[in-house]
Point group: none
């Protein structure tokens, strides 16, 4: 298993990226990618079984990487003792977000593809999968700390889903709008403050 995928492969990747970025997955054309890479459409099938496989190759690592990062951060936090968790939730999430943004900006192209061009692929619901994780761990947190938000009915899993969706949409807007990392961080800090106020309100009104 050669560590360095063949030269051709490396040539194809950026061409595919360009095409997907420009047209979106569904309207992207294998022929166009091939032409851009100086080869025939048929040739692409030596390197990717599918149009979709190609897309996966482009965004998969970053997608999984972020998901993993996210999962680990949540898991770590979840393992902390109850009291510590209660004290540090919001600080912790500052830290989590920071890493999150760093990761995204380290793989900016991939996330732009993921967020803007994935309709028609298995990644169409990428953001939803992050939301699901977020919701799952938020539920664990609430349960483990004995907060009465859920039992009182002030909060429900569906509500959490919706709020988290809103939050992630907002975060990924920075990618859609090609913000610089600096600008993005500043916005997202504002966003965090905004959402923290909301969470505080519904958790301990």
């Amino acid at each position: 298993m050669p560590k360095d995928k063949a030269e051709t492969y490396q040539r194809i990747i950026p061409c595919a990226k360009r095409e997907f970025l420009e047209k979106g997955f569904e309207k992207a054309s294998m022929r166009a990618i091939a032409a851009d890479a100086g080869m025939t459409a048929a040739g692409l099938y030596r390197h990717f079984v599918d149009k979709e496989a190609m897309f996966v190759e482009l965004v998969g690592p970053a997608a999984n990487g972020l998901k993993e990062l996210f999962l680990v951060a949540h898991e770590e936090f979840n393992k902390l003792p109850k009291e510590i968790k209660e004290e540090t939730v919001f600080d912790y999430s500052i830290d989590k977000l920071e890493k999150f943004i760093d990761y995204i900006y380290d793989h900016l192209d991939q996330f732009k593809l993921l967020v803007t061009c994935a309709e028609g692929t298995a990644f169409a619901d990428f953001m939803d999968s992050l939301v699901a994780i977020e919701v799952k761990y938020t539920l664990k947190f609430i349960e483990s700390t004995g907060n009465d938000g859920l039992t009182s009915g002030r909060i429900t899993p569906e509500f959490m889903h919706i709020v988290s969706s809103a939050f992630f949409s907002a975060v990924f807007e920075v990618v859609k709008h090609d913000m610089t990392k600096e600008t993005a961080k500043s916005y997202i800090e504002s966003l965090r403050i905004f959402f923290t106020a909301g969470w505080k309100k519904v958790l301990s009104p």
Copy 2:
């Protein structure tokens, strides 16, 4: 073989709705719609100029209706005296949201199409157009009340855009997830509380 315009038209509409809902505008097939309606693709063109015209017929009225409703509500509020505005912003928005949701649930199918299946049509950016209105009037409100959020830099138009996008995404999630009107109202009330807390935080921290 019915030769009654109204009747056939009425037969086509739900078939079109189904197809668009299932495949999205771009992948929807005129032939499939026609087949579902028990007729030839060519026959559709007696009732609709275009594939897009068909979609517009389905969602146009609801889309424009909601936009109008929204605009009027904002405009009315905007005309109030400064003091009243400051006192009632958040109450007013309760009322506005209420009407908003009512309207959506009165035209649920249309909004599902609008929110989920409009890519490739003139309505692709429907939600954005609502956001733009929201931002515009929020700016007016901030300016007219002399709030220092903008001048201090705590808020920017872009931030407002992002937060509003997040909010509307969240609201339309109820449509995507086929919630009942009751459930939706309850969620959206929570959402409003949540976002209100955020706005209060950034407006007068």
Copy 3:
């Protein structure tokens, strides 16, 4: 059988003319004609069995009129005694051409249709049918005067066909180019002189 075809019929005719003139028979659209006449395509079929029948109605009378005129002129000449014929051929053809042009300019639209827009109809070979007549009578003339053009092989029926085709093409160019009648007459006089020289050359070299 009402002498004055119904009013609607009269309304359709110029619309059909316009459409055929603009797009040619094959690309002309029944719908467009109907729309122009303020009615439905189906309605046209009350007045014309066919798209082609419509075209025939427009150009038929003029086409047959000219052919008849042409035939009669030839027939009359043909009945003259041999000596007279020999003496007056060329003068006679001046006269014939004059009437020919007059007739065309009395039905200019029809001939424009006939010459420019008839592809795909039974009139596609209208000009050829004139040529055939011309050739037939020219042969009779040559035979009856005992000219040796044919027997010597200087002339053949096919050659006559070709030359006549050339002549009629030239004549109908005046229609294609929208010349005024005055201009046309002048050109055609030149043309006649030109062709007369040719005929003289091959008939009695």
Copy 4:
């Protein structure tokens, strides 16, 4: 199932020719051509960009070849000294016509397409383009020799256009009527004599 480019291409060409010849460019069907060639319509697009490109491939070389031949012949003659030109015009045109006919019969199919089936393509006015060349050089000739045909008004550019059109129509009749080369040459020689008489008449009456 042959995978040989050249072979398939060679198989398509005569099928395309047949279809265009039978129906004309506009009514020719890609599907029919493909079926005739034993393949799918889509397959044709590996060999030709377009329906029109296909037609061009069929007739382009011959069309341009003839035009070039014609242009060169005229240009060569045009470079001769005035006296020589005056002396040899008519002889020269014998030679020119000879080559012209040879070329046509060397590419008979192409010219039949060009003359009969090109409506709707860039070659629709092929004959006119030849006429334009002919007229241009005839004008040069008349001017350079000081002939008074133009200044006296006996001839005009429009008249020349019409006569030349007539001549070329006549020439291409041999193609339309599938004459053998021998027959054609004989007719065209007659035609030349015929037209020469005409030109002499109008140039020096």
